[in-house]
């Protein structure tokens, strides 16, 4: 076999820059061979090294009294009491899903599940954040159908309920959809598994599917800008095998019951390369691999191919010496391949052998720690000018029925009914509310889960948009009565080498950090997806937030549905009627200007803490936060969910359309019995939380200032019909 000569050209073709290549030659003191170059190229890719984002991610708050493990491991870990911890993370599979929506989304789900069960946690819930192009774009329906089926196809087979998510449509995503999947698991705090290899001479074990030539160079693809040609090239996409993953999950959890494992790491993007390098690097060790022992699906695979393969459903484990037999027995029972493929060393080098030859011999530290870090130049965007006066539409009452059926506001039932959201028999709040709630099995407590971000706010003002994304997630958790614990994020942006895009990134991250600090809501895991551009057109900045909260007792939980006629409807929080960047402005008036609503983090904290207290004390069972579409959308959703109408009045001193459709932050609608009203309003005043009495739950129509704005049934028909109608077209 002839080994291709490596040159600068080869390096450039691998996505490395000339400077980076020079640095590699410098570190090695020689020219790398092609396998070594391949290994460097994935380890130093944006995806693995976070070279553009690292310095900014360091500014995020990552600590808190409950945080057991922050960013840096496969997933974040947070204490939930009783010796238990919640383990969670979100990750993107954007580019593969655009090329092959079903398999791309499915393998994205599989990948994030492995991140969570590698830590010793059983996955108990899935969530996602999706962005598609314009509804009428020729590709959109195909992508929606494939992505949703793929998420369901994988998660349903795994038997993990998919319980929450969010979806937006915007032409900015026509050529770059976003598929971010989040997995939440539960582990015992004394059985958390990490990826740090320890000890010399310990067996390195490969478990899971056989290795094929899947997605070779997927990790560098995930970091490279798209152009029309790459759609034509059609790189190999991976096919997910949820059946094998389910067996791998059960086998790993079974092995984790014993004390045989020293370290474990899933093979995600960059497969064998990054998993082995990371384990060795964390432990300050070396590692030797003999590829002859790697289970292979295809013949004549080269070392290069095996090291770079992204075949799914695989894990790397460092075992205590002498435990191979015990471990193998478990994997045999589950029908999963098990092979000792190497051992740890004290050389600090990664040595890869294949067919008796040394195919790579590299210092681990050069791969993991010497990766470049860039302080990319950025420009901060000037915040948009304030909106002037917005005239009310001629027939305000006719707007609601249109608004409930707008692409970003219509019901997502068509999506979540394709997900098994009730398997595991612990889903106490199904999709459709502010946050989903899954009970911790066998306990009274529950986990609340939500995903949120408002990209149009982030585009208009990255800093305020970043704050808002975190605040909304925190608010959605508070709205069901949960104490927000921590969040994970998936930062989806365009090309960071453009200063404007880098400015969006920096602004959003600053916003995320400030909000997290103010709300005692640290980030414990996350992922960056950069270069989401096609032909130079970038996506909207989309820092998706996945929030997790804790409910002490799932019996004390709020939902959005109106429950009883004659309950009083009260708005908590302040309303200025902020229409800048609102959906009303965009979809009814065709304008997308003005600043996004400012986020007053102190008010967020005050109002959210107050609402959570009301739910925990059993005073209210009906809560909905105000977000997209403003107050009237929140009321309409509460009415549609409960099958009950309402009668409300708008206060004097503010235009009705601004009051109803403004997207002011830090607001919640709550319902209470009339006899509790006085006491609760007094308590709110004491807490410094503004209240507005809106009206009553009543009848089966929505009545505003004495006008009939439509029956709940007709609103629901419009709200429920939009997505199925869209998808009914071929």
């Amino acid at each position: 076999m002839t080994v291709p000569m490596v040159s600068l050209e080869t390096a450039l073709a691998h996505g490395l820059s000339a400077d980076e290549y020079a640095k590699i030659e410098d570190l090695l003191g020689r020219t790398p061979n092609v396998t070594e170059l391949g290994i460097f190229s994935v380890m130093w890719s944006e995806h693995c090294s976070y070279k553009s984002s690292r310095i900014w991610l360091k500014t995020l708050p990552t600590e808190g009294p409950r945080v057991i493990q922050g960013p840096g491991e496969n997933a974040g870990v947070v204490d939930i009491g009783d010796g238990e911890a919640v383990v969670f993370k979100m990750e993107s599979h954007n580019h593969p899903s655009f090329i092959e929506p079903y398999q791309g989304a499915a393998t994205g789900v599989g990948g994030i599940m492995r991140d969570v069960f590698t830590m010793g946690a059983r996955p108990v819930a899935m969530a996602n954040a999706l962005r598609f192009g314009a509804p009428d774009h020729p590709k959109t329906r195909h992508l929606v159908a494939g992505v949703v089926a793929g998420i369901g196809g994988y998660g349903n087979c795994m038997g993990v309920p998919t319980v929450a998510g969010e979806v937006n449509f915007d032409p900015a995503y026509n050529g770059n959809i976003l598929v971010n999947a989040m997995c939440v698991g539960i582990a015992n705090t004394d059985r958390i598994f990490l990826s740090e290899a320890k000890g010399v001479g310990n067996p390195v074990v490969y478990v899971g599917s056989k290795t094929g030539r899947d997605g070779i160079h997927g990790a560098t693809m995930a970091s490279a800008e798209f152009d029309e040609a790459s759609e034509e090239k059609r790189p190999t996409v991976q096919v997910g095998d949820p059946f094998t993953e389910k067996l791998l999950l059960e086998a790993c959890l079974e092995l984790m019951q014993s004390d045989a494992i020293i370290a474990i790491q899933d093979m995600g993007a960059a497969g064998l390369t990054s998993s082995s390098a990371e384990m060795a690097s964390k432990g300050g060790l070396g590692i030797e691999l003999d590829l002859d022992h790697v289970p292979q699906r295809e013949t004549h695979m080269t070392a290069y191919e095996m090291m770079l393969s992204e075949s799914q459903e695989r894990m790397l484990v460092v075992l205590k010496p002498g435990r191979e037999k015990q471990a193998k027995k478990i994997f045999d029972k589950w029908g999963i391949d098990f092979a000792v493929i190497g051992r740890t060393t004290d050389t600090g080098r990664m040595v890869v052998r294949h067919q008796g030859r040394i195919e790579a011999d590299l210092p681990v530290s050069a791969l993991a720690d010497a990766a470049p870090v860039y302080e990319r130049p950025y420009v901060e965007r000037k915040p948009p000018a304030p909106l002037g006066e917005i005239e009310p539409p001629a027939d305000l009452k006719a707007t609601l029925k249109r608004m409930v059926a707008r692409p970003d506001l219509a019901s997502r039932r068509w999506i979540w009914e394709q997900y098994d959201y009730s398997v595991m028999a612990d889903t106490v709040q199904a999709p459709g509310g502010d946050a989903a709630v899954v009970r911790v099995h066998g306990r009274r407590k529950g986990l609340a889960i939500t995903t949120d971000v408002t990209p149009r706010y982030c585009r208009a003002d990255p800093y305020e948009g970043g704050k808002q994304a975190v605040a909304e997630a925190w608010r959605n958790l508070s709205a069901v009565g949960a104490l927000p614990l921590a969040f994970t994020d998936n930062l989806n942006f365009g090309n960071p080498q453009k200063p404007e895009i880098m400015g969006e990134f920096v602004g959003c991250v600053k916003g995320l950090g400030d909000a997290g600090r103010a709300l005692d809501f640290p980030v414990v895991s996350g992922n960056c997806s950069l270069y989401n551009e096609t032909n130079g057109a970038g996506i909207l900045p989309t820092p998706a937030i996945g929030g997790v909260g804790l409910l002490r007792d799932v019996a004390r939980m709020a939902t959005v549905a109106f429950k009883r006629a004659d309950e009083v409807i009260v708005l908590l929080g302040e309303t200025h009627g902020h229409l800048g960047q609102s959906i009303f402005l965009r979809d009814e008036l065709g304008r997308s200007d003005g600043p996004p609503p400012p986020v007053d983090l102190e008010a967020e904290k005050r109002n959210g803490d107050f609402v959570r207290g009301l739910v925990a004390d059993g005073h209210v069972r009906t809560v909905h936060d105000c977000s997209d579409g403003g107050l009237i959308l929140a009321l309409a959703e509460m009415a549609m969910a409960g099958g009950l109408g309402c009668r409300i009045e708008t206060p004097a001193g503010i235009a009705s359309h601004a009051f109803l459709y403004g997207e002011d932050q830090a607001r919640y609608v709550v319902c209470m019995t009339a006899d509790r009203m006085t006491a609760l309003v007094a308590a709110a005043r004491e807490a410094g939380v503004p209240t507005t009495r809106l009206g009553l739950v009543e009848g089966d129509h929505i009545r505003v200032n004495g006008e009939d704005w439509g029956s709940v049934a007709e609103l629901r028909d419009a709200h429920e019909a939009w997505l199925p109608d869209l998808m009914a077209h071929p």
């Binding site: 092959e100 079903y102 899947d214 059609r234 096919v239 059946f243 699906r297």
Partner: protein, 80 residues
């Protein structure tokens, strides 16, 4: 005309179904079965009677809908 279309996974693409079928056959005691691959077959009745035009039409169907050309190959058989 009648068209029979075979849609099969490209070589090298993982075929979880084929793999599982192989295991199941082994479990049932069938020996000597190495590679198992599963694909789809689609049978169509076409109004078109000209073979060249029919083939072109079916090819377009495969490209646009029937096959996922990122991971699948297709083959078309026509008969009267």
């Amino acid at each position: 005309m009648k068209a029979r279309i075979h849609i099969t996974l490209k070589t090298g693409v993982l075929d979880p179904q084929g793999k599982a079928i192989g295991h199941a056959l082994e479990g049932l005691g069938f020996e000597g079965v190495s590679e198992v691959r599963q694909g789809k077959v689609i049978d169509l009745d076409l109004a078109e009677t000209d073979e060249a035009r029919a083939r072109e039409q079916v090819r377009a169907m495969c490209e646009r809908l029937l096959a996922n050309t990122v991971i699948e190959n297709y083959a078309i058989d026509l008969s009267q």
